[in-house]
Subunit: 299 residues, 2 copies
């Protein structure tokens, strides 16, 4: 089944101690869409300016991503620039130019409104809600977020939470949202805000699912070298929903394995700048790491 993904489509300039990478393809929706495309047909909803490089349109095409919902408007593409410190853990934003993203209103083409799986990748909760309002009874809706929205758009986010099947956030955001330092106790509070599934991303420590069948402790794939973690969280959630959309039967029967697939796609994402590594792998590479994770967690 197809997955509709809305989020940011951006150009990322990423500086590390060793090199500069100007105007890479980035944004939450780009990472999530490429990740999901390994498993399911993807419909991308976003906006770019008329400066958006043609090679990135071609890249989407190579991943058979439906671009009917991608608006190309006069003006500049959203541009983010950031710098990593020598240990690759701390990131500092140097510049944010919203460009055409500033007035983005996602309007869904008719064919998109009946997509069974919906991923509201990280953008303003008001836009996530706006997209959801145009959908006809999707089978499964997941949303990701970031600390910024907890700070400046909490009311919208809380409204969004009542409409979700799955809410994905990182551990720091879970603590911010609930004012609870214990992650499992924080998860319980987040369930009370609406979502049936709560998924906490913990970077290199993996992720945690809480759902009707209890908790699932999902490992991260061991990486000896992290080149650029930008987009790893988006790749995780994109890979997860892409896999879920291919699985027959109840969500509950597949969501654990879907997280494992998301975790593996995220591991590839970290091994290159932007989408450079992720766009060079094949489904077989993903399956190989999933089998490795099976061995790494067996006892």
């Amino acid at each position: 089944m197809s997955v509709l993904i809305v989020g940011s489509t951006a150009l990322d300039s990423i500086k590390t101690p060793k090199r500069e990478n100007p105007r890479l393809l980035g944004g939450s929706a780009s990472h999530a869409a490429v990740a999901a495309s390994f498993f399911s047909p993807v419909k991308l909803v976003g906006v770019v300016g008329d400066d958006f490089p043609r090679r990135y349109i071609q890249l989407y095409h190579r991943h058979r991503i439906d671009l009917e919902g991608l608006q190309i408007l006069p003006g500049k593409t959203f541009h983010w620039s950031g710098e990593y410190e020598i240990n690759m853990n701390n990131r500092r934003t140097l510049l944010t130019e919203l460009g055409v993203f500033e007035t983005f209103t996602p309007t869904l083409p008719k064919a998109h409104q009946s997509a069974p799986f919906v991923l509201l990748a990280n953008i303003a909760p008001s836009l996530q809600l706006h997209v959801l309002n145009q959908m006809q009874r999707p089978k499964f809706v997941a949303a990701d977020t970031m600390d910024l929205w907890l700070n400046i758009a909490l009311a919208d986010l809380l409204k969004l939470l009542t409409h979700l099947d799955a809410f994905v956030l990182n551990d720091g955001e879970a603590h911010m949202l609930t004012k609870d330092d214990n992650m499992f106790s924080a998860i319980r509070k987040i369930h009370k805000l609406g979502p049936k599934y709560v998924i906490i991303k913990k970077g290199s420590h993996g992720s945690i699912l809480s759902g009707p069948k209890g908790f699932f402790i999902c490992p991260a794939y061991p990486l000896h070298c992290v080149v650029d973690p930008t987009g790893a969280g988006d790749s995780f959630v994109g890979g997860m929903i892409g896999y879920l959309a291919t699985a027959k039967g109840a969500i509950d029967d597949h969501i654990r394995r879907a997280m494992i697939y998301g975790s593996v796609v995220a591991s590839f994402c970290c091994e290159g700048f932007g989408l450079m590594r992720t766009t060079r792998i094949k489904r077989a590479d993903i399956d190989r790491r999933v089998r490795e994770l099976e061995k790494l967690t067996r006892f």
Copy 2:
């Protein structure tokens, strides 16, 4: 088979925002010995002063811990006092009185020298070496450490590492020791210092084993409330070696499950002050959480 455990035997005064707990039974060897005692006969090697409460001797006895190697000397028992902040994550040492521990030289009774399993719980690496030098070809030797020894006794620690089967440390210590921010790359460097098995403790994020059969990603048991994490790392390594000592056959075939058992005993340790919770559980309580962890990690 029996496990010899050497380390600190102390009185811990632990202050939290809600209460004070003066002179609890503590120390790395106390936590590790109680944890190991659920699985194997334990021989404790340590020192206490003549102020050491009789009820703590009785507590060791209840766990059938052999105290022939516990010296009781005139003077004061090692006393540590610390305070937790409101979020229970940050700990601050208020006081350290070494007492009889200051001149401790562990001399092993004859019967102890042939113990097949040896845990050198956290004390000065020179003392860990001193104990090891008295042993007759043990089957398996594991050692734990702490950041203090990396700072003030690195040469001794490096010497110790060449004599170990397994070295257990936390992620921060692994980075300190190797100057490598990537945990898996740090692990590779630690193997080169000697140990066949490297085990990295990551607190609530679980632990990682690296050994001849590759990595194992060991989960932490989900806790909704952490009362006092003091001794959790010691309980983990104690439970692990205690379980290993009961298992027949090659270490490689049992070390993963042994870590799971250690992880579960550590989870109980966190649920009470000092050893209060750990000393009130039964083997069946441990087995129940191990079965739960099996379910929590299956995909």
